[in-house]
């Protein structure tokens, strides 16, 4: 008979492995590790959405308690994306129908998109003209992407150089990444 994993070994398991261990084996240590990974993020998201720390803490507890019943019902490929959507909808005041909505869209999350882009770039036989793709982006986005990824700078540094704020730079970078991903996906489709 196999022995149960030591607590320290749970940190090496992926989110999906932990979910699987709980759903299939009722391994409660797996849930505890998931909470240690994402509990503070859930709380932060609830604070941002709800505006109050007290209500956010209550909702955070409720999310994880309800999740104990719901996890075995799902086939979750990307737990973090699933949890993000779940918390957002709980904050929006939706009830038990959240899970129905999530069930129908299982696996179609934004995390998965990055993964697909990476796979496309790795498998591309012909190199992608990065300069040409970047030129199609808006100027501020292109500049922010160049400073941040090309020069390995932080948000604050880029913000100083662009006479902006770190928060605005973060938004620019996020939007630039999304636009760049969309362009690369179009290129990948054309090449097929």
């Amino acid at each position: 008979m196999k022995q149960q994993l030591p607590i320290s070994d749970y940190a090496r398991l992926s989110d999906e492995d932990l979910v699987h261990r709980y759903a299939q084996r009722n391994d409660r240590n797996a849930v505890t590790v998931l909470f240690d990974r994402y509990g503070h993020l859930v709380l932060g998201l609830c604070i941002k959405e709800l505006g109050g720390a007290t209500r956010a803490q209550e909702l955070t507890r409720a999310v994880f308690i309800d999740m104990l019943d719901e996890l075995p019902k799902f086939r979750i490929d990307h737990f973090k994306s699933w949890l993000y959507r779940y918390v957002k909808q709980r904050c929006a005041g939706r009830g038990s129908d959240i899970f129905d909505a999530l069930r129908s869209r299982d696996g179609e999350y934004w995390v998965n998109d990055d993964h697909q882009v990476r796979m496309m770039l790795e498998q591309a036989i012909e190199p992608v003209d990065a300069g040409g793709v970047l030129k199609t982006l808006p100027q501020d986005e292109r500049t922010a992407l160049g400073h941040f990824y090309g020069e390995q700078q932080t948000h604050e540094t880029v913000a100083r150089r662009m006479n902006s704020t770190p928060a605005r730079i973060k938004k620019l970078l996020q939007k630039g990444r999304i636009n760049l991903r969309n362009k690369l996906e179009i290129i990948a489709e054309v090449r097929k």
Partner: protein, 362 residues
Amino acid sequence: MNGELKHIFDASACLTRRQIREYIGGNLSVEERHAADHHLNSCMFCSDAMDAYQAGAKSLAGMEALNNGFLKEYFARHSPQVHLNSMALSAVVPVRKSRSNRKSVLLRPSGIVAAVLLLAGAVWYMEFDGDQFKGGGRDAAAVTSASAAVQAERPPVVKLQQETIIADKPAPSTMPVTEPLKPAATVVAAVPEPPAKKTEDRSEKPLTQKTKAAENTAAKSVASSRSPGVSHHADQKPANPESGAGLLNLSTEERIAPADEKNPQTDQDATMPAKEEAKDDAGSLFQAGKYNAALGSYKKLMNSGDKRTRQDATLMAARCYMNLGQKDNALQLLESLAATGSGPQKRTAKRMLRLMNNEPEE
């Protein structure tokens, strides 16, 4: 160049509490901070949480206070932890709970229900079968009761015979055992249902009061017998309605019945006017309280050839005895009348006997 673009989409682990705390506190090196910013560009979860924690120190304190104690409490409150880790299948793809398990869970109660229904059906069948084997126990009873119901609609004599066979209930005392069939009008007039109830109500009163009431009523009955017919009965009013209410109704019915019975005898009895006068005299004496004189007159009338006159006289003689305090003689006359008499006089005699013996009205 693909490597540079790929670097933009590199995945990294979410920020830990310590990283968030140090990021906000500005305690990260440039490389660490760039790595954190890199992750924040791609992870909306961490980015939103970071926005919240950067907004206020209170939020950060909430993060520090967050612990998994509630999960342990929840696990402790619910079923104890079962380490299924070692028993779990090494399935790679987790699938939803199989439907076979649900079916098996659903089959349990349905199986129990089916078993109960089968058992109930078997018991019912056995009972039904047993009834058939019992034979005619119930069937015979049903037939008997049905025949009794049919016979209840027949005339009293036939009913008496059937009741004797079935032996369920005794014949009602108001129905004469040996009484022959009467004309319909006579039977209707002889059924004193409402008056019987009134008599029953009055039966709780002392005997003397009832006896006096009966005496008054009987005296009036005798006196009114001179004018036969229902019309006379309709005009008749009791002299003392309160005291004679118990037997008054009965006596009025008695007055109707003799009128019907009397008609065929009118031609035969040539001495009727004389007897009527004697009755009137006796009745006058009785009402005057001269019970001895009245008793003598009634004794003469008791030898009359007319049965109805004889019975009336016997009844009144018994009342005279009662007023004279000779209860034994009164009882003797009433018993003889109840045994050999007929018609309303007989019923009146029986009622008087019951009143004297303090027996309940039937």
